[in-house]
Each structure stands twice: as structure tokens, then as C-alpha cells.
């Protein structure tokens, strides 16, 4: 197995403790940061496909996503220098009143693993902050909004309304998700796309970017 394959296998199996070491080894053997990143992105898309085929589940995806994150860390300074090509730029956050971020983080990691630059606004994010972030950054082409609690769904509506009123609306799409969210709710509040899970969110992002 080549070093790049080893890196990919470690990500797929979620071996977060060894993945950073393998990345360093791959760099030492002469692989470029972009090559290594791509091997990890491929591994994560395998993870996403397996998830969609019900072969693996959220626990394994969380473990794999964390391994990916560990693997990307040593690459970050190198990638910034290389001006690596991006699939797009995504702003993501959990709405005001909601502190839950495990699902949102997983979506962020899957989207990042699909080659996007992700700006994570964190949790309990008011509508104005979403609007400000997207208006101040002309490169953003997707805003992803998360809510985990039924009781914070109205906050999501507020965010989407504020984004829809933005003069920059034509250059970005709005994606929504979270346990209580449905396609009907997405349509009702005027968001563009709803996906049921992190893997399909990443796939959708690739389609629409």
C-alpha cells in the first residue's frame, strides 16, 4: 500500500491518532499537500457513499470526519501557500437559541472534505451575523443553516428571511438541515435546499456550487 493509500485508509477507518503521522510521512516521501488532501477527500467520499448505502452509520462518520480533520491540520499552512483550487466557499452555523453542534460540525467536515472552504460561525448565531458574514465575503456561494430543536425552528425561519432580504441573495444558495427539519419546512421558509444527512449535504453542495 502506498503512503497515500495508507492515509486514505486511516481516514476511512477513523484512525485519528495515526493519521497526522501518516500525512507527515507522505509529505516526507515527496507527495504534495494537494495530492494528500485529495486522497483524504476521496476517502471521505467513500465514507459518504457507504453512509448513503446504509453500510456505515453516524458513529463511523463522526470518527472518520475527526480523522480527516486531524489529517488536514498539518497540511493547512502548505495548502494556503499552494493556493489550492476550491469547490466553493460555505458559511455554516447553528441558529440563535440552539447550542447543538455535533450535527452541524459533521456537515461542515463533510463539506470541507468535498473540497470547499468552510467558515463555521459556530452555535447560537443570530440572523444578522449570517447576513453580515455573507455580505462581507463575495466568494461565499452557499450558506448552510442548522437547527436541532423543534423550538429553534422559528429562528431558522428568521435567518432565512433575513438572508432572502439581502442584496447579495443572487450569488448564494441557502441549505438547511437538522433533526426536526423537513422538505416542507424548507419550502415554507423560502430556503433553497434541504438534505437529510451530512453526506447528502456534501453531495448537494457539490451539485449546486
Amino acid at each position: 500500500m502506498s503512503k497515500l493509500q495508507e492515509v486514505a485508509a486511516a481516514v476511512e477507518k477513523g484512525k485519528s491518532k495515526i493519521v497526522a503521522g501518516l500525512v507527515e510521512e507522505a509529505l516526507a516521501e515527496g507527495s504534495s499537500a494537494v495530492e494528500i488532501l485529495n486522497s483524504m477527500i476521496d476517502a471521505m467520499s467513500v465514507v459518504g457513499e457507504k453512509f448513503q448505502r446504509n453500510e456505515i452509520f453516524v458513529p463511523e462518520m463522526l470518527v472518520a470526519a475527526r480523522a480527516m480533520k486531524k489529517g488536514v491540520e498539518p497540511l493547512k499552512p502548505l495548502l494556503a501557500d499552494a493556493g489550492a483550487p476550491k469547490a466553493g466557499k460555505v458559511i455554516i452555523g447553528t441558529v440563535a437559541g440552539d447550542l447543538h453542534d455535533i450535527g452541524k460540525n459533521l456537515v461542515a467536515m463533510m463539506i470541507e472534505s468535498a473540497g470547499f472552504e468552510v467558515i463555521d460561525l459556530g452555535v447560537d448565531v443570530p440572523a444578522e451575523k449570517f447576513v453580515e458574514a455573507v455580505e462581507n465575503d463575495p466568494e461565499v456561494n452557499i450558506v448552510a443553516v442548522s437547527a436541532l430543536l423543534t423550538t429553534t425552528m422559528p429562528s431558522m425561519k428568521t435567518v432565512v428571511e433575513a438572508l432572502n432580504a439581502s442584496p447579495a441573495r443572487s450569488r448564494f444558495k441557502i441549505m438547511v438541515g437538522g433533526a426536526p427539519i423537513t422538505q416542507e419546512f424548507c419550502d415554507e421558509i423560502g430556503a433553497d435546499y434541504y438534505t437529510t444527512d451530512a453526506a447528502s449535504a456534501a453531495q448537494k453542495a457539490k451539485e449546486i456550487a
Binding site: 477507518k13 477513523g14 484512525k15 446504509n54 456505515i56 452509520f57 453516524v58 458513529p59 463511523e60 463522526l62 470518527v63 475527526r66 440563535a96 437559541g97 440552539d98 447550542l99 447543538h100 453542534d101 455535533i102 460540525n105 452555535v123 447560537d124 430543536l149 423543534t150 423550538t151 429553534t152
Partner: protein, 589 residues
């Protein structure tokens, strides 16, 4: 002149003309331990008079009036759990005293209320309310003219009367002609099930128990959905409040019927529940509970009038135990008082496993609490063949040398699997390496039991009952959350897991789960296996204790205040800790 001496907890009576309490006890057939034979030298025959916290020697105290005497050792309430047997001195916030209603003469210009407070003060020798002026109770004062008449002697207009004054929380709540048992009802309002215990507060005995499914379920299965109903529907708060109150009244009818006690003899109730149940019972908006930072509208202990709230005597009171935080409620405080968290001598972890797994880790000085979103897997929900722990449920499973054995509640054919069976099944399959540490099935081990169910591998446990890959994942997410909660609390106190000396598991699931299996899947750290003790419905025990001991009611407030709440969702380390705890124990490939 003769006096009536009532002995508790036996309820035996003696009519005496005087003499000592010890002599009255002998006359009544009550055994008081007096090894010195009543010489006043051993100090063993301690009793308390009319509920006074001060204990006196029965052999050296003269009977100079009618009184109620609580006898030493048996006047202690034993908590009926195997693990934390502890004794609590019986000193209920609800008491009664026999009072003489003296004939009024012209020139006695005292108000009816004053006449009552004077009678109570005289009857207690100043002990009750420590001689202080009782807080005026207009609801009672307004009916005293008739109440005095009910006590005989036409209310003191024709002659002396005798009545019983009911004191609650140091206030005079009622006056009646002498009546039967003095009772109180303890409620544990769970999201799914409500339990009611009827207590004789003078003996500390539980007279009856009943439970019912929480009728709020029709507004949503969990606290978030129910809160959402309140926030969205115009009459939401009222609908949920009246649903829970009618369930409590139904239970009151049932327990008083079982015990043969009239509802009007029930003068107090106590309530524990998670913070949302607490709010919905009180009709408080849960808005602050379900929006970050998820704080309660009200946490402090509260004593309410029962009038118009519950069908106990309308002169009664309702004791609402305090909450700790938005997702750690009075039920957890109940567990803490039942488990004696005020007098801990070693590092103790208490876990109440329900839809949310609330837990408290404490030593003699500090307590930290958190709530984990364990989900309803161990209640049988979201599991393909899951069911409640009722007849037909597989409740235990083992695999020994490739042979699978299980037991079924009721002994008949297996119809489904309950929480304890699910835990055993996953533990046995992890140990047999049918489930890999990642949580995936290895279908090459015991292949004869695997089949495909809705496109996923499923493992057959019995003819009808099986476990799917998705079921295993539900268990994995639940155990990861609970195990991470334990680790986060230990980290917050700066202790190592192996330093935890006792693990108390509260709730129905905790009573039936195998500690071996809980450690086998990594829900509880393996190093603590020998220290796990089930404590039954400790939340309900806590609600009872609040009605049987003023001290425990006060301790509840202190414990609730002193516990530090850890918001896991806001802790940056939680996600890592959670992901670390998702894997099952075992060697990675």
C-alpha cells in the same frame, strides 16, 4: 382529668390521668427501650412530643396534657432500596396537634384566629412554631366559626371542644374534629410515566402506590415537542397543565381508594420531575428551557396552596422540590437526597437513565451535574423489535461458547426486547466479536444467525426477535453520550474515573440492567464494575423524603444550589470525548 396519648408510628392510644410517658406507653402496649427500668439513668427511652425536634426521656416526662409521642428507633423511615439503605429521622413538615377549644366567656374579645393560635400554642407548650405568632391564614380564619362548632361544645359557646390543628411548614393550615390518618402524596412526574405514593406521615409508611402514563404524551413524546406545543398553540400551557393535573388527581383517587383514606385527610403533596415537567405542572412557560442557554424560569423550592391545584384537602400545601438547571431537574435532586448526597464520605456517581441521562458526580465538598441526550433506546424506543419491560420482552441474554441463551419476562414466547435485554445482547455480541469495536457487524461470525432485513444485516436472537445494524448504532450513540458525560464530569472535578467509589443507577432500567453488560459495552467504565449499585426509583424516594423530614426538604434546596451544572453542548471538549466513546471495547483491527 384524663389525657389522650397517641403513640407513633404504631398509632396506639392510651388514656391516662397523669404519670410519665413511659407509663402511658406501657398502658398502650407500646415498647419503649428502657434498659434502666425507668430510673432516668440510661437515656435510652428518648421520644419526641408533638413533633418537636427536641427529644425527651419518656421515663422522666410527665403527661400533663393530651399529646402525640413519636417513639425513637422505629420512628425512622427506612428507604427501601438495597444499595443506599439509610435512615432518616421522621420529622414531617405536616403535623397535627390535639387542641382544646375553651369555652368563650363574655369579655373575651380575642379574634377566632387568635383563639386558635392560643390553643395551638398551649397544646404544644410553645414548641410548634417555637411560640412565635403564627402567620395569619385568612382562608382558615374565615371558616373558623364553623370549624370550632364542628369540634364540639358549639365552638366554645356552650362548653369546651376538642379538635386537631394541622400544621404545615410551621403554619396552621386547618382545624378539624379529630380524624383518622394524616396523609401526604409524593409524585414523580416523568416524561413517560407518573408515579404516586400515598404516605402516612406519622408512621412514615407508604400506604399505596399507583402509576399512570403521562397524558401529555399526546402533545409530544419528549420535552422539546411538548414545549414547542406550549409555545405554538394559544392555549398550550393550559392544555398541558390540565393534562398533568388530571393525571395526578386520577392517581390521588386511586391511592386513597386503595388505602381507604378520604381525600380530605391528605394535606400535602410533593412533586419531583424534570425541569420541563415541573414548569408544565406549574403552568410556567418553558420558553427559556428550550432556547440557549436553556435555563429554568424558576428553580427555587416552592410551597403552594393546594386549593384549585390538586384534589387533596384544599387547606393543604404542595411542596415543589427545586431544580438544578434547565435539563437537570427536581427528579435529580430527589435522587441526590435519597442517596444521601448531603453526607457523602466518598466520590459517588449517580445516573438516572431515561430519555435524557442525568448524572451527578459528587464528593463531600463538591457536586457537578449534567444531562446527556442518551435517547430512548434503553426504553425500547427506536429499536426495531424494541418494547417496554413487560410480558414477552427478552430481558436478559448471554452467549457462551457460541450458544445463545435468553430469558423472557413472563416465561412465554419472546415478542420483543426491552432495555436490559438490548444492553445484554449488544454486550454479548461485542464479547463474541460479532460486533466489531467500530459497531459494525462481522457477519462471518455466527453466520447462521444473520439475515437481511430492509437491506441491512440483522442478527436473529429468537424466532421473532432480532437486532439490526441500525439498532446497534442507536445503542452506540446512547452509550457514547452517557460515557462521555461521565468522563466530562470527572474531568470537571479533576478526578480520575477509577477514583469513583460508588456508581448508583436510578430508574427502572437501572434496576434491571446487568452491570456486567453496562461495562461490557463501555457505557460505564469497566474499572467501576464492582461499584455499581441499582437504587430503584430514587427520584420518587426523594419526593417521599421531602414529606417525611423537614431536614431533607431543606437539604434538597442546599443540594440543588450547590450542584454545578455542566452544559455539555457548550463544552468544546465534549464532541471529541463523545466520538472517543462511540467505539465498543475491544482490539481494533
Amino acid at each position: 382529668m384524663s389525657f389522650t396519648v397517641r403513640f407513633l408510628p404504631s398509632g396506639l392510644l392510651a388514656e391516662v390521668d397523669g404519670g410519665t410517658i413511659l407509663e402511658a406507653a406501657i398502658a398502650a402496649g407500646v415498647q419503649i427501650d428502657a434498659p434502666c427500668g425507668g430510673n432516668g439513668t440510661c437515656g435510652k427511652c428518648l421520644v419526641s412530643v408533638d413533633g418537636s425536634p427536641e427529644r425527651v426521656r419518656a421515663c422522666a416526662t410527665e403527661v400533663t396534657r393530651s399529646m402525640t409521642v413519636t417513639v425513637g428507633e422505629s420512628g425512622r423511615h427506612r428507604i427501601l432500596t438495597d444499595a443506599v439503605q439509610r435512615e432518616v429521622a421522621l420529622d414531617p413538615p405536616l403535623k397535627r396537634v390535639r387542641v382544646k377549644i375553651q369555652k368563650s366567656s363574655p369579655g373575651d374579645s380575642r379574634s377566632e384566629w387568635r383563639k386558635l393560635t392560643d390553643a395551638v400554642t398551649a397544646a404544644t407548650g410553645g414548641a410548634v412554631g417555637s411560640g412565635a405568632v403564627f402567620k395569619p391564614n385568612p382562608a382558615l380564619a374565615g371558616v373558623l366559626y364553623d370549624r370550632f362548632a364542628e369540634c364540639g361544645g358549639n365552638g366554645g359557646r356552650n362548653g369546651d371542644g376538642e379538635g386537631e390543628a394541622v400544621l404545615i411548614d410551621g403554619e396552621i393550615a386547618d382545624l378539624r374534629a379529630p380524624f383518622g390518618r394524616l396523609c401526604a402524596a409524593a409524585f414523580d412526574i416523568g416524561t413517560t410515566t407518573i408515579v404516586c405514593y400515598l404516605l402516612d406521615v406519622e408512621s412514615g409508611q407508604t400506604l399505596a402506590v399507583a402509576s399512570v402514563l403521562n397524558p401529555q404524551s399526546r402533545f409530544g413524546a419528549d420535552v422539546i415537542q411538548r414545549s414547542n406545543y406550549v409555545l405554538e398553540a394559544s392555549d398550550g400551557a393550559q392544555a398541558l397543565q390540565s393534562a398533568v393535573r388530571s393525571a395526578l388527581n386520577l392517581l390521588l383517587n386511586e391511592v386513597t381508594r386503595q388505602a381507604g383514606v378520604p381525600l380530605c385527610d391528605v394535606y400535602a403533596a410533593s412533586v419531583v420531575g424534570n425541569t420541563c415537567m415541573h414548569h408544565l405542572f406549574l403552568g410556567l412557560s418553558p420558553a427559556s428551557l428550550v432556547h440557549s442557554p436553556y435555563n429554568p424560569a424558576l428553580s427555587d423550592p416552592l410551597v403552594l396552596s393546594s386549593d384549585g391545584v390538586l384534589d387533596i384537602n384544599r387547606m393543604g400545601r404542595i411542596f415543589m422540590l427545586p431544580n438544578i438547571a434547565g435539563f437537570v431537574g427536581a427528579d435529580t435532586v430527589g435522587v441526590m437526597i435519597a442517596a444521601g448526597f448531603d453526607q457523602l464520605d466518598r466520590l459517588t456517581l449517580a445516573i438516572d437513565i431515561g430519555t435524557n441521562g442525568e448524572m451527578v458526580l459528587a464528593d463531600e465538598k463538591r457536586a457537578v451535574a449534567c444531562s446527556t441526550a442518551a435517547g430512548p433506546a434503553f426504553e425500547g424506543a427506536k429499536i426495531t423489535c424494541g418494547m417496554r419491560g413487560a410480558e414477552g420482552a427478552i430481558d436478559h441474554i448471554s452467549i457462551d461458547g457460541g450458544a445463545l441463551r435468553y430469558s423472557v419476562i413472563g416465561g412465554g414466547e419472546a415478542e420483543g426486547i426491552c432495555g436490559s435485554g438490548l444492553l445484554d445482547a449488544v454486550a454479548a455480541l461485542v464479547s463474541a466479536e460479532v460486533i466489531l469495536p467500530s459497531g459494525a457487524f462481522d457477519t462471518d461470525v455466527m453466520p447462521e444467525r444473520f439475515f437481511t432485513y430492509e437491506g441491512q444485516p440483522a442478527f436473529r436472537l429468537s424466532e421473532k426477535v432480532f437486532l439490526t445494524q441500525r439498532d446497534v448504532r442507536e445503542v452506540q450513540l446512547a452509550k457514547g453520550a452517557l460515557a462521555a458525560g461521565i468522563e466530562m464530569l470527572a474531568a470537571r472535578l479533576g478526578v480520575k474515573l477509577e477514583e469513583i467509589e460508588r456508581v448508583l443507577i436510578a430508574g427502572a432500567f437501572g434496576n434491571y440492567m446487568s452491570p456486567e453488560s453496562a461495562c461490557g459495552i463501555g457505557l460505564i467504565p469497566a474499572v467501576l464494575r464492582e461499584r455499581i449499585m441499582p437504587v430503584g426509583n430514587a427520584a420518587g424516594e426523594g419526593a417521599k423524603l421531602a414529606l417525611l423530614s423537614v431536614e431533607e426538604w431543606r437539604i434538597a434546596e442546599r443540594l440543588a444550589r450547590s450542584a454545578d451544572f455542566v452544559e455539555l453542548a457548550a463544552d468544546p471538549g465534549f464532541q471529541d470525548c463523545y466520538v472517543d466513546n462511540l467505539a465498543f471495547p475491544g482490539e481494533e483491527e
